[in-house]
Amino acid sequence: MYDVLIIGAGVTGCSIARELSRYRLKAAVLERSSDVCEGTSKANSGIVHAGFDAKPGSLKARFNVAGSEMMADLSKELDFPYENNGSLVLAFSKEDRKTLEALKAQGEENGVKGLAILDGGEVRRREPNVQETAAAALYAPTGSIVDPFLLTVAMAENAAVNGVEFCRNCEVRDVKRAEDGTYRLRTVNTEDMTEQTLETRAVVNAAGVYADVFHNMVSARKLHITARKGEYLLMDRKTKGFVKSTIFQCPSAMGKGVLVTPTAHGNLMIGPTAVDVDDKEAVNTTQGGLETVLQKAGVSAMNLPVGEVITSFAGLRAHEDGGDFVVGECEDAANFFDAAGIESPGLSSAPAIGRSLAGEIAEKLGLPENENFNPVRKGIPCLSAAGLAEREALIREDPAYANIICRCEMVSEAEIVQAIRRPVGARTLDGIKRRVRAGMGRCQAGFCTPGQVEILSRELGKDPGGITKCGTGSGLLTGTTK
């Protein structure tokens, strides 16, 4: 019998897992994909929002502001890339200008610090590539950027070190409440299709776009989540410095609009679109979507370096009909805790949602404190970020640091091996990419795929034919030559 089973190893599920590991319990995270961070958490803007967008009193407002305040310390504790770069919401018209005033007032009510309205001249002095037509901007000094992959991975690793189990390739098919109030989760292993039933005292539903499905298995008060697609374009790190802050446009009913932002690794990113789709697996980009992103980003910034695009991708936001997060114990299903409808600002809110929900669960279940909880996680020493002397030291310690596998991002064999060997380690090409950035650069894994396949094959003791991009069904090779 588990104390807690968490469905979903996205940023929310991993945050809850890590916060729960502060208590003595038997807990596991069940993830249908081959890795953590495979859903919405891997395809978003990577923004820590200041917190002025959400309506005062909403859970979005509360968790966003609290999460944003936690993020800087968390980035030190868990060693993931985070930069407090500030954000600007541009105003192009008189109505926009009124919107800025309203956002500022709303932000202040939400407790966002340091908001100020800048005139167009000041905006362009700070950001020379912002269009001349931008007449003013709302400046939020607390706006930040974060690596969403490493945030998720870091929380998962830390949770695992502190005793939480991670079951990947483990799809939950059914959740039932037993007579005694405990839960039975029927799962299937997506690799070998074996079924299993797990018993638990409490369930956390952090299943992203599928959170409504699990909620509705136990509750009569139905949730309905729509997948809202957002398409993005990512540009080469050569474009570093094109903008320093995150540049928003005024929000609409569908969201925060198309932004132009640096990533935590110095790429330039533009997007997302916001289109509701019926298919909760539709992470495909579309010609129309990508054109929309380019067109709308061009409204904010001039001279966009479109020739430097290295990849495009799409993510699905989990939009609940009520428009707010659904966080907390289900009203008609005791010990079933939802973290549902976690769309933007979900990434920013994840640390606070984890803290809040874990506290609620611990109190409900009467979990004792885990005296051995270690809050610190050190990242994999990164060759490309190291100075010459540090590189020399890294190579001396482990000569595999000199064997560059990914030349675009300068990722060495040593880093890839560590990514695989760590707790909740990488098992796929995509898993390596998200942990150490191999294949994330301008050639998009053209050069490093064979090298990565070789290392994965060696480390996992698998034939290269069994190495996948992202789990079952995504094999890279289809056989041997004649």
């Binding site: 001396r396 290269p464 996948t468 069904g473 995504s474």
Partner: protein
């Protein structure tokens, strides 16, 4: 490790090998040279090009890629030119020699740690990379089974692994055409080659020998408009494009397949050169060079695919030999001073670029080779050479195609014959 040499060569592929060999022939002692190679063997991309057709110009025989490379590797070994394998160059900086001259090349190597090589001259011979899917803005899913042609080639020829069984190829670059044949011979079914442009980007002989001979259709003016499959490619949809290169609605055709190969162009790999401050050519994405193949940074020379993408390795070797000889002359102080402004070379009307892009009359040899590519297919056309706006000569060309590198040779005596010559223009003229 710290080492001082006369010439550091970045890259041990065909360009680097030929450049080093040529520098020795020009009088540099072999142990005054160091070749730095990223891979665990010399030869570069030729090692995976096991098809034949290499060396027709250089050796007057048909060799495979590894055989062609071997001819140059043997010479390097005969002359005992030092090379360091598994050495990834991470930086080239000026003022590396005592007295603030020369350059310092920094590399990483498992045995040696950080390697610092001080050199009077550096030859850039890093080659190029393939343009990936992301840079093409192809919409659709991002499953396994999308490879650049060169990656697929490596898997098949070096690892003995098949990247897929049912294949659609986008782009008609030479590697894609070669891989269409290679995969077919290995039992895969290549369903179609789609090319965005109304002409092929590859050599005519490859279209005949790799597609026509195997009944593989080539669809010009077509592109990929959708990729389906969440885990592994399940189908690829191609559509015809109009003159604006945009897909024409209603022309879509969906091909069931498990693999999409991309052969959509090569990009010179100049991150090191750019960081050094070498002036770049926006068309070639390679350094701007003068008649000596010297870049804007004195003592830094460039050759091969890092300079501009070649169609035949024979031309790479020839160009690299020139760069190696000039680097040697530079080191030996044999390159004449020239305070006069160089003669600029302008590419116009269908001529996309020229290498070199300027000539010093004082330094040039009796004959100067000018290499270039055209931007479209032309029949019954000519290349007009103009000296300061006046026609000097027009060379008749039955066919000009973007896939083939073109060249003209200029005579020093002709250039010297024009008083105060400032500019040479190359343009395509049609009859």
């Amino acid at each position: 490790m710290e080492k001082t040499v006369k010439i550091a060569v970045i890259g041990g592929g065909p360009a680097g090998l030929a450049a080093a060999e040529s520098a020795v022939e020009q009088g540099i002692r072999p142990d005054d040279i160091l070749i730095l190679e990223r891979a665990d063997k010399l030869g570069g991309i030729l090692n995976q090009c096991i098809h034949n057709g290499f060396g027709l110009h250089t050796f007057r025989e048909e060799l495979t890629g590894p055989e062609y490379a071997d001819r140059f590797i043997r010479k390097v070994r005969e002359h005992q030119i030092p090379y360091l394998l598994k050495a990834m160059v991470i930086d080239i900086s000026p003022a590396g020699m005592p007295g603030g001259t020369g350059l310092t090349v920094t590399a990483m190597n498992a045995e040696e740690g950080l390697v610092r090589v001080h050199a009077k001259a550096v030859i850039l011979a890093m080659g190029c990379r393939e343009r990936p899917r992301g840079a093409l803005n192809l919409p659709g899913y991002r499953p396994a089974g999308i490879y650049t042609a060169g990656t697929a080639q490596r898997f098949v020829n070096l690892e003995g692994r098949m990247p897929g069984h049912e294949v659609v190829i986008l782009g008609s670059g030479d590697i894609g055409l070669i891989m269409a044949r290679r995969l077919t011979l290995e039992g895969a079914r290549v369903r179609v080659v789609a090319e965005l442009m109304p002409y092929s980007g590859g050599l005519e002989r490859n279209i005949v020998q790799c597609l026509d001979d195997y009944g593989i259709p080539l669809k010009l003016s077509h592109t990929v408009v959708d990729i389906k499959g969440r885990k592994r490619v399940e189908s690829v949809t191609i559509a015809e494009v109009g003159p604006d290169r945009r897909p024409i609605p209603g022309t879509e055709e969906e091909y069931t397949c498990d693999t999409l190969l991309l052969s959509c162009g090569l990009i010179p790999e100049n991150e090191l050169s750019s960081a050094l401050g070498v002036q770049m050519n926006g068309v070639t994405k390679g350094p701007v060079v003068n008649e000596s193949l010297e870049t804007s940074v004195p003592g830094v020379f460039a050759c091969g695919n890092v300079l501009h993408v070649h169609d035949l390795v024979d031309y790479v070797s020839e160009e690299a030999a020139q760069a190696g000889a000039n680097a040697a002359r530079f080191v030996l102080g044999e390159i004449a001073e020239d305070s006069a402004a160089p003669v600029t070379i302008t590419a116009q009307d269908g001529v996309r670029y020229t290498v070199p892009s300027s000539i010093s009359l004082n330094r040039m040899e009796d004959r100067q080779l000018i290499r270039f590519r055209v931007g479209n297919e032309y029949r019954n056309a000519g290349i007009r050479i103009e000296f300061d706006g006046k026609e000097f000569r027009t060379l008749k060309k039955n066919i000009l195609a973007p896939g083939s590198m073109e060249q003209v040779i200029l005579q020093k005596k002709d250039l010297e014959g024009i008083k105060g010559l400032k500019n040479i223009t190359l343009r395509v003229v049609q009859y």
